[in-house]
């Protein structure tokens, strides 16, 4: 039982990282129906930016006291801003001109952007794994035989907070309303005086900024990164978004946590589980899509962003 609960904890924290990345996927898909394959690499870029900021601040290990909040806040904001700007730039250069092109064209462009980012990061920091400073002290508490570490709590909490903040942003602000309108019918929204270009740009800004936050958190959580990190994480996060119902914010989080949990449980209870966990994850995905083609929460909400 202890082991089972421990795997639930492992799965939730892994799922938290997936969920943070999946939010960005789902936002972009919701508004322009583009699977932004570069999103996983924007997330890695966030880790690299965070690393550069921490190096600039001279931080190489745990930080304590009030400094901790300052360092974390500064790094996370810098990473979110940089990634947000990168997302806007990608949209401007690679996707905007293709908005009226057949859907396959921007999809291929997205893969191209992904390659470019990976290679830029490889040139920047080399092809080897890079250690990431363990900024946050990591005491762990034992609850009835289950070890929960501070970092795991941070990951899950951040994923939930970001999801709620995003939900509030979309349903309670003017720009959020514009995003929902653009998602429903771009032409009609434009006729109503909504600046579609700005709205899409904001979507990329917010989605990529979330990837920046996820990048920082995963750097701290794993203590290492490399240029290719975003490939696998991006693929899983995309799967999470599809599983939850792509375009649905809450669905992205649900999908992220589900995949994390399935991976952890499959690893524990299937012989040679580490090798088979992906097979289980994608089998579940296939089954869900057979019975609910638009994902777990895809149909329950009429509006998608």
């Amino acid at each position: 039982m202890d082991v089972f609960l421990q795997q639930i904890v492992n799965g939730l924290s892994l799922g938290g990282i997936y969920a943070l990345i999946a939010l960005g996927y789902t936002m972009v898909y919701g508004i322009i129906e583009l699977i932004n394959f570069a999103h996983g690499d924007v997330y890695t870029f966030g880790t690299f930016t965070s690393l550069a900021v921490l190096t600039g601040l001279g931080v190489s290990g745990e930080v304590h006291g009030p400094w901790l909040i300052g360092v974390v806040a500064l790094t996370i904001v810098a990473s979110m801003l940089t990634c947000g700007a990168l997302g806007v730039l990608i949209e401007l250069l690679a996707y905007r001109r293709l908005r009226k092109a057949p859907r396959l064209a921007p999809l291929i462009t997205a893969i191209g952007v992904s390659f470019i980012l990976e290679n830029v990061m490889q040139l920047w920091r080399g092809p080897s794994p890079i250690p990431f400073p363990q900024v946050i002290p990591n005491p762990s508490a034992s609850l009835g035989g289950v070890e929960i570490s501070a970092k795991q709590v941070v990951v899950v909490a951040l994923a939930v907070v970001m999801m709620v903040a995003l939900q509030l942003f979309i349903y309670n602000t003017k720009i959020g309303k514009a995003m929902r309108a653009t998602a429903q019918d771009r032409d009609a929204a434009q006729l109503m005086g909504i600046n579609v270009n700005t709205t899409i740009m904001v979507t990329f800004l917010v989605g990529s900024a979330l990837a920046g936050a996820a990048g920082f958190v995963s750097g701290v959580y794993y203590g290492t990164t490399w240029f290719f990190n975003g490939f696998e994480a991006g693929l899983k996060a995309f799967t999470a978004a599809v599983l939850g119902g792509i375009g649905n914010i809450f669905g992205a989080m649900l999908g992220g946590f589900s995949i994390g949990l399935i991976e952890a449980i499959a690893t524990q209870y299937i012989p040679q589980g580490a090798q088979w966990s992906n097979v289980v994850v994608f089998s579940v995905l296939v089954l869900v899509l057979i019975f609910r083609p638009s994902g777990l929460l895809g149909e329950s909400l009429p509006e998608k962003v």
Partner: protein, 417 residues
Amino acid sequence: MNRTGGFARCAVLTAVAFLAACSSSPTSTTSSQSSSASATGATIKIGIDMPLSGADAATGIPTRNGSVMAIEETNAKGVPGGFTFVAYDLDDAVQGAHDPAQGAQNVKSFIADPAVLAMVGPFNSSVAQAEIPDTNDAGLAQISPATTNPGLTKGDEAAKLRTSHPDVNNFFRVCTTDDRQGAAGAQFARKLGLKKAFIVDDNETYGKGLADVFETQFKADGGTVLGHEHLTKGQTDYKALLTKAHALAPDMIFYGGTTVTGGALLRKQMGDTGLGAVAFLGGDGISDDEFIKSSGESANGVYYTVAAPETSKLPSATTFVANYKKRWKSDVGPYSANAYAATMIEIAAIEKAAAANGGALPARDAVLKLVAATHGFASPIGTIGFDKNGDTTAPILSVYRIEHAKPVFVEQISLKV
């Protein structure tokens, strides 16, 4: 998915095109230090193929030097029949890294020169794969001091490399193979008193091979294997796997793989899952600086094996190490003694073949037969013989432990084959 593959292929193609363009003029990078020795008889050349420029030069040049030293010592002693040995050394590095196509080209140069009766090299397994079909065709004896891929000598893979004469093996090595590291690791772990192992590998040829051999040997030595799991490529979170391992209470984790395919992350996350104090043992895939950098503090205490002896600690190599320092004014490289031994084996075979041929220049296949029959040959790296595959019968491996972010030599392990 190997995204750098395209670029590498491109570089190889460019190199091939370049070589084709200048193949009319023979490669003239011969820079043998020993060719000036005066001799009354014919010269016999020993081909030496090593990476001598770029990043690989750091290990390639000391290896070449070991081979050249063997030739110089032989000439100084005097060769029966008045022959003089000459080192014919070529660089297989292109644009700073060892290159299989260049290696194959070098071997063609050796084969085209009738004075070349045997060769030493190459340094890298990928280069050997490109060279063996040519040397097999020419019946040229080839001894490598450093290639450790098991497929070069064993099984179907090796048979496929011997394209012209599948039944004649002409490729030998004085180093041992990757898979024997698994056996050495198991022996060492049992010696440390470790009984319950959980095995993890990266599911690649090298890593899985290592882990499978470890499992067999560890069980044979009375240890218990609690589980054997394979990592998925690209995975970065091993906490679920390590929690599973933790529940089985192992006293060691064996890892078959490299730093990048999961070694560093696995070691790091052991600390997060209550396995921080459990022993961690791997092969030379984690013997790089990257492992120490990426796993940080948790690297300390990690053991790993290397498929070569630590020459400076080997009693039989004392004289060689002293002579090497005198001759080259630098420290001996990890494979210098191997190259020295490989060259000495070839020289002995050539001298014997010449004697059998009435003192005349022997044929390559006569030399090859004698090299293949080598047994009980005393060398700085121990008494060497070749088995039917061409592998050494007296493999010596070494174990290192990482302390204060530096590898520290622990001990040599001699395997009985």
